[in-house]
């Protein structure tokens, strides 16, 4: 079981309030991702749940029981750190076994669980090595192994993939998702990478300056961002936000249109501009279009075969059914 509830939780460092009163429920078995730009308080929030930081006021409940003053060791949560935080003086086997040793489990059961975790994570051949003799991806697996042997109520991941190279990151992302499907345990995952958030989460919590901007499934956030911040943060490349006369036509202060919802043409369209940088990804091409009179740059996603060059005139047509409208305060108009 692992249902985590935050009730009016606040956190201040000295006079600086980093988390204003915040309420959030994470259901048992859910994969929840905290996402936001750096300094938004997402890691602090995770550390509050872990118990590594004390909350200033409010309450944290784990499975209905008040855990506010329970030390981290007793909360039954496992954490995977960005730096892996492996014990350098212990072998992989001892690293993974450490939480079980702390729980005073008998040796036969420890061995059974460590071997089990090692085979799941492809670490069987490395059990006698020290962390210093492993690659980054292997170290990350050891850190995950150390977390899963305890069969915790919930897993906490603090930007676990940001120290890995791009290719490995995609692989580990899949492995963690697989692991969640198999274990069906609550996972809370902190990242600044919205791609990780979109691909892994059941539920995304978008944070800015300690405030929850929106909570929802990846597609809910994509289809109906609650405000311009979420609109700009979720989706890659970023949504184009347009103010002024064009927005007024739609009775809005700001309108948003995603790059993938604009069609391009050499001859006709609603808007026109000049091609700046064209990024060719093979399958897709991203055009950064200037001089449209709408915003400084309008980003457009087109098919990989579409060929415009720097400086070409380009015509753009937004799909009218997916234009997002926001009021002067930046909130969505429905």
């Amino acid at each position: 079981m692992g249902r985590i509830q935050l009730k009016d939780v606040t956190k201040s460092f000295g006079d600086v309030e980093v988390i204003p009163p915040l309420n959030l429920t994470i259901e048992d078995g859910e994969f929840t991702v905290f996402v936001g730009p750096s300094g938004c308080g997402k890691s602090t929030l995770l550390r509050l749940i872990a118990g590594l930081e004390d909350i200033t006021s409010g309450a944290i409940e784990i499975d209905g029981a008040d855990a506010t003053d329970v030390p981290p060791a007793k909360r039954g949560l496992a954490m995977v750190f960005q730096s892996y935080a492996l014990y350098p003086h212990m072998s992989v086997r001892k690293n993974i076994a450490f939480p079980l040793r702390m729980a005073k489990m008998d040796q036969a059961e420890i061995d059974r669980r460590v071997d089990g975790a090692a085979s799941v994570l492809n670490l069987t051949d490395y059990l006698d090595r020290r962390p210093g003799q492993l690659s980054g991806g292997q170290r990350q697996r050891v850190a995950i192994g150390r977390a899963i042997v305890r069969e915790p109520a919930a897993f906490l991941f603090d930007e676990p993939l940001s120290n890995l190279d791009a290719a490995l990151r995609v692989g580990m992302r899949l492995e963690i998702s697989e692991l969640h499907k198999r274990l069906a345990t609550t996972m809370i995952y902190v990242t600044h990478d919205q791609v990780e958030a979109m691909t892994m989460a059941d539920k995304i919590v978008v944070l800015r300056a300690g405030n929850i901007e929106q909570v929802g499934s990846p597609l809910e956030l994509y289809k109906a961002p609650r405000n311009t911040f979420v609109a700009g943060f979720i989706g890659s490349p970023k949504m184009n936000l347009i103010e002024g006369a064009e927005a007024a036509k739609h009775d809005a202060h700001t309108i948003g249109i995603r790059p993938e919802h604009i069609t391009v043409s050499a001859t006709e369209g609603v808007w026109s501009g000049r091609v700046g940088v064209a990024e060719h990804l093979g399958s897709d091409t991203f055009f950064h279009v200037h001089d449209t009179g709408l915003a400084e740059t309008i980003t457009v996603r087109a098919d990989g075969e579409v060929g415009f060059n720097h400086g070409d005139r380009i015509h753009l047509t937004p799909r009218s059914d997916v234009i997002h409208k926001f009021d002067a305060a930046g909130l969505r108009i429905t």
Partner: protein, 276 residues
């Protein structure tokens, strides 16, 4: 790309390194050689290097005239005692400054170090008076305390630097893994800090062993360590170089042997913070 090293260059480098090493070691070597000469040979002009009548006479005389073992024992107690006492006080201090720093931690560290910038003789008088009043003059206990205090800033600084190298996330991971403070210290921190504590111990033992200012000024007979033993041979009756050398050799031999066996730890200690 790494710089290419030709065999000739390597030869030159090795030669220069040996020359420098020999230059630094020469005074000690000369002391040891002189200790095996007669008094006449010791002041011979030109100096005799290897070809003289090797004799153990000086050692016999030194041993007859003064009780080497008593001085040695005093040195061991004073150096060992002050180092252990210093470590016991410095470990919790460095620990808290490294892992739970406050806004003033840096200031405290600097202030502690600043006490080392004061010439020792500046506080000799007050400490001497204190020793008289407390009846600590010429006592090993008194010297243990004074040498501990003299070296404490260095011990704290060294340990602080070592502890700072231990990433906080590892301690947090231990906490998440269910370790309580006692287990965290026992299973995680201590094993990771042992190399640092060991080199701190060693370096401070050597510093205390060689400390002469306080040991000469605050002892007379009972608590006199090897530094006083050496000094007693540059006496008003005249200089006896061979005997002085024999005494010096006997005084530095234990620490030289200790240093030889712990070279690796010592180098790490002396360059602490420089190499991660």
């Amino acid at each position: 790309m790494a710089r290419a090293v030709t065999p000739q260059r390597k030869l030159v480098n090795t030669g220069v390194a040996w020359a420098v090493g020999l230059l630094i070691f020469f005074p000690i070597l000369w002391t040891i050689l002189t200790s095996f000469k007669t008094e006449a040979q010791a002041i011979n002009d030109p100096p005799l290097f290897l070809f003289f009548d090797w004799t153990l006479e000086n050692y016999t005389i030194v041993q007859e005239r003064s009780n080497y073992m008593r001085f040695l024992w005093n040195s061991v107690i004073i150096a060992g005692g002050s180092t252990i006492l210093g470590i016991l006080i410095a470990v919790p201090a460095a620990w808290s400054m490294a892992f739970v720093p406050s806004r003033r931690t840096k200031d405290i560290l600097l202030w502690m170090l600043s006490t080392k910038m004061l010439p020792a003789v500046g506080v000799l008088y007050p400490i001497y008076l204190l020793f008289i009043q407390l009846g600590l003059l010429d006592s090993r206990a008194g010297l243990v305390v004074v040498l501990m205090l003299i070296n404490l800033p260095i011990i704290v600084w060294m340990l602080y630097t070592y502890f700072r190298e231990i990433p906080g996330e590892i301690l947090e991971a231990a906490r998440m893994d269910g370790a309580e403070l006692r287990q965290e210290i026992l299973y995680i921190l201590t094993p990771m800090a042992i190399p640092g504590i060991a080199s701190t111990l060693l370096l401070n033992f050597i510093l205390a062993w060689n400390e002469a200012f306080w040991t000469l000024n605050l002892t007379a007979v009972d608590a006199a360590p090897l530094t006083a033993f050496i000094a007693s041979y540059s006496s008003p009756e005249g200089l006896f170089f061979a005997k002085l050398s024999a005494a010096s050799t006997m005084a530095i031999a234990p620490i030289l042997i200790l240093g030889w066996f712990s070279q690796k730890q010592l180098v790490r200690g002396l360059t602490f913070g420089a190499v991660k």
